[in-house]
Amino acid sequence: MKFDRRAVLRGAVAGGGVLALQGVTPAWARTGSPGLRPDQPTLTGPDIDLTVGRTPFTVGGRTATATTVNGGLPAPLLRLREGQNVRIAVHNGLDEDTSIHWHGVLLPFQMDGVPGISFPGIRPSETFVYEFPIIQSGTFWYHSHSGLQEAVGHYGPIIIDPAETDPVAYDREHVLIFSDWSFLSPHALLEKLKKSPGYFNRQRTSLAGLIDGGDRMSLEERRMWGAMRMDPRDILDVTGSTYTYLINGHGPDENWTGLFRPGERVRLRLINASAMSILNIRIPGLAMTVVQADGENVRPVEVDELQLSIAETYDVIVRPTEDRAYTIVSEAIDRSGMGRATLAPRLGMTAEVPPLRQVPNLTMRDMGMGGMSGMDHGAMGAMDHGDMDHGDMGDMNMRDPDNAPPGMAVGVGVDMVNMSPINRLGERPTGLEDVDHRVLVYTDLVSLAPNKDRRAPSRTLEIHLTGNMERFMWGFDGRKFSELVEPIRFERDERVRVTLVNDTMMSHPIHLHGHFFELVTGGPAGHQPLKHTVNVAPGSKVTFDLTADAPGDWAFHCHMLLHMHAGMFNVVTVRPLDGAAS
């Protein structure tokens, strides 16, 4: 006999038993959700109580203990309104410190929730009251910034409704929070990677793949990659070999289902709360109109697929007109696994689930050689191998300190210095180069409202994202945060042009707390997109203009949780502070 736990719980909620929600999925994240509705037990201001605790979590028939907020994975939806003040009391029911960082929410630095920067953290059985005014609107999220709790369930969505009319019209809305779940603890994942950096990769090139052509890579290319001691399949560090990809806390087999009525405009609020997974999102048969990125409205762009890097959010409008189900696919960019959910007019309907696509091969562009003269700008497959003697590869100095800024340490933690970083904001992201449908690129994003600060930057700053893949060391400018690095200093209200140079072959979702930066996309003047997190593609550089208008100390880090934990982290200071403290 199959016991429908969720149906029972729905009954409990209908009966007003909000407390019955303890230990289960929040209403909005339950399968069969009609979408966000005023009658749901949404947590809303001005006073919100959250308790962090440990709760059993079951996926794919296995159960483990997750770190949860109010007993739910994902954590409860916070729905706030621009212009209100909010007080959020966070009680720590764990036996270790915890914290909550409000990702993308603009607030005073001491409310930002990063232990050791904003505040001391929340000790076991203590309560910390966050209090701040809500001065923006959009889709955001929250998560722990303590230890690696975020990787085991401590994340949830935030929706802030605009004070004025929402420029985006929709009939129904669903939150889709994507994440990755492993039955290995995140500390165990890191230990495996420190000992064997390719541990989770079961898709490496092989002799069999060479013989049967399945690797799509010639012997010559292999030799070149081997000469560099780099792996063309090193796309994600932690893969589907251990991860179950969740959508609203549901595994692919549990098939979370959101309801719609044909013809409705459905707003999907996409949030990537993964620890280590960059995801490609598509809904075969439905075009997605991107209307918001990282909580900031953008001019509508219609696409068929988008890459959702870790910690990014996109709001999209879909308009299913047929009385049929649609599959929502969140495929890991290395194609080692995927999450799956369904949009359907009625519960129980399903649509075809597409198979995983071929694992992509990294190319010379991902090695920071894409911009070199004499090289075709195309992908590896298009390279004319006759033009370049790969035997000389070893002579090319792929670790030349001259290509680094003066303050960078080119030591053990740096296995490569980008020889010729290219701006890839206009390129399709990893693995989506050749798909035969429309793919979102960063240059598609154009702010809907004019940006507030139109000043030209008064100085430039170059920051390198560095790593040593063999030792699983990660840092900024060749240093791990643990090496007592200098903070990155800005003067208050200073406008600075920051260029991030990726000296590695991996994507890094870089997040700056407390600020939105303007991506230099070459888009319409004053309408370049504002973001809190940007995915820096392998071998590329990304430039943003930052107005350092939030005094205080802020975290700046890679949102690949284990990259951060391995050292890719720093503090940004903005001075002077307010009042006498300045």
């Binding site: 920067i117 929340i122 004025e164 500390h187 200071t573």
Partner: protein, 416 residues
């Protein structure tokens, strides 16, 4: 005695991880001594943490800070616009400044064109003949074919250090950026608690320490009826740069004594992205004479993914010997892996007591085919050929031993 110690040592080290694994910083916070607080600061747990205050009428809003002032802008021209008409398939609502507003760009690869800058000289031009993209005016790549590029706006090129070699200094931050307190949160919270929290943050973001034990070979061998065993293991504990590293190897016949067993205890330091230098001591047990050596070696990953290592050994008797090793993992599939391996031993002088002659003493070539049931657990079968040379061979012959040996091996490699 030594033999027992050598065999037991790895076991002891295996037991160590639990104690040695730091991941330090995840431990609960150290209790901070209650000291008088500077005015305006709060200590963890109170009064900010007073849950009873939550929602109390009249409770101050944002009592411990103020909202940063943000640069004001002219009113949003879109404020209050309802864009219900912008849903899919229809023209997006665009800002008045957009020269492409409402333009239809039929042949542009199917991607919706983001609007181009106002300075775009192509504004208003028919772009149907320009597949691929529009380039920003300063784009040096304009006109290049860029397969895989679907974006139609080319971001401007911002030069970086790679375009400006010699590492010229960057402009420092303005002086005002360094004014005020070093740590802003110290103004709101107990500085002692913040100091402790900062240290935990430092440790948590980069100071990862691990311990591993690697059983490279643990095998039985067979040649012409005699069966032998052999092991090769190593492990380390420490951070990214400095590690304690140990190695052990040995062999013997099942029906006889251990022929040779050694244990090295080394300090290992990463000196380059792919290589470590290692120094320490080695204790070797042999039936015909034990030795204690100083060791200086190097170990790492050579181009083309060859795992290599080499060391020189200076014994307490003044004998100088050396060893070099190389191995390579050839993935046949992602689970079947063929590992060819070579080892060469050298000696600076004749050591008759140990049957070692000067020059190349021995060369060992092997190949092991393993199946990774899990990455850290792989049974294997293989073959290993050993040949002794020069005076070493003469000593062995004189003692009635073979100078060449080929054996089949079956074993297990594992790590944790």
């Amino acid at each position: 005695m030594i033999k027992t110690a050598i065999i037991l040592f790895p076991l002891v080290v295996m037991a160590a991880p639990a104690a040695a694994q730091s991941h330090a910083g995840h431990a609960p916070a150290a209790q901070v001594q209650a000291a008088p607080l500077p005015p305006g600061r709060v200590r963890r747990g109170s009064p900010n943490g007073d849950a009873a205050r939550v929602g109390a009428p009249g409770a101050p809003v944002c009592p411990v800070g103020s909202v940063p002032e943000r640069i004001q802008t002219p009113a949003d021209p879109h404020a209050g616009h309802d864009m219900s008409g912008m849903s899919m398939g229809q023209a997006p609502a665009t800002a008045p400044a957009d020269p492409h507003a409402g333009h239809h760009m039929p042949d542009m690869g199917g991607n919706r064109a983001p609007a181009a800058p106002t300075t775009d000289p192509h504004a208003g031009h028919d772009m149907s003949a320009m597949p691929g993209m529009t380039a920003a005016p300063d784009d040096p790549h304009a006109g290049h074919a860029m397969p895989g590029m679907t974006g139609m706006v080319m971001p401007p090129v911002v030069p970086t250090s790679a375009d400006d070699p010699g590492r010229p200094p960057q402009a420092p931050p303005p002086v005002a950026a360094t004014r005020g307190p070093a740590h802003a949160a110290d103004l709101y919270f107990d500085p002692a608690e913040m100091t402790a929290a900062r240290e935990r943050l430092r440790v948590e973001n980069g100071d990862v320490r691990t311990t591993t034990v690697i059983l490279d070979q643990f095998e039985a061998g067979s040649a012409e009826g005699d069966t032998t065993y052999a092991w090769g293991a190593q492990g380390w504990t420490g951070g990214d740069i400095n590690r304690f590293w140990w190695k052990s190897e040995g062999e013997g016949a099942f029906d006889g004594e251990v022929e040779e067993a050694e244990l090295q205890a080394l300090y290992s330091r990463a000196i380059s992205p792919f290589f470590d230098v290692q120094a320490g001591v080695r204790q070797t047990y042999r039936p015909d004479g034990d030795r204690t050596d100083l060791v200086l070696g190097v170990q790492g990953l050579a181009p083309y993914w060859f795992e290599v290592g080499g060391a020189v050994f200076l014994s307490t008797q003044g004998e100088l010997t050396a060893r070099g090793e190389a191995e390579y993992d050839q993935r046949i599939t992602n689970r079947w892996i063929l590992q060819p391996r070579a080892e060469i031993n050298l000696s600076a002088e004749d050591i008759p007591e140990l049957s070692i002659g000067s020059g190349v003493t021995s060369l060992q070539l092997g190949a092991r085919l393993r199946y990774e049931i899990r990455k850290e657990f792989a049974p294997y079968v293989g073959v290993e050929w050993t040949r002794h040379f020069g005076n070493t061979a003469d000593y062995l012959k004189a003692a009635g031993h073979d100078v060449e040996d080929t054996r089949l091996v079956i074993g297990l490699s594992a790590w944790f």
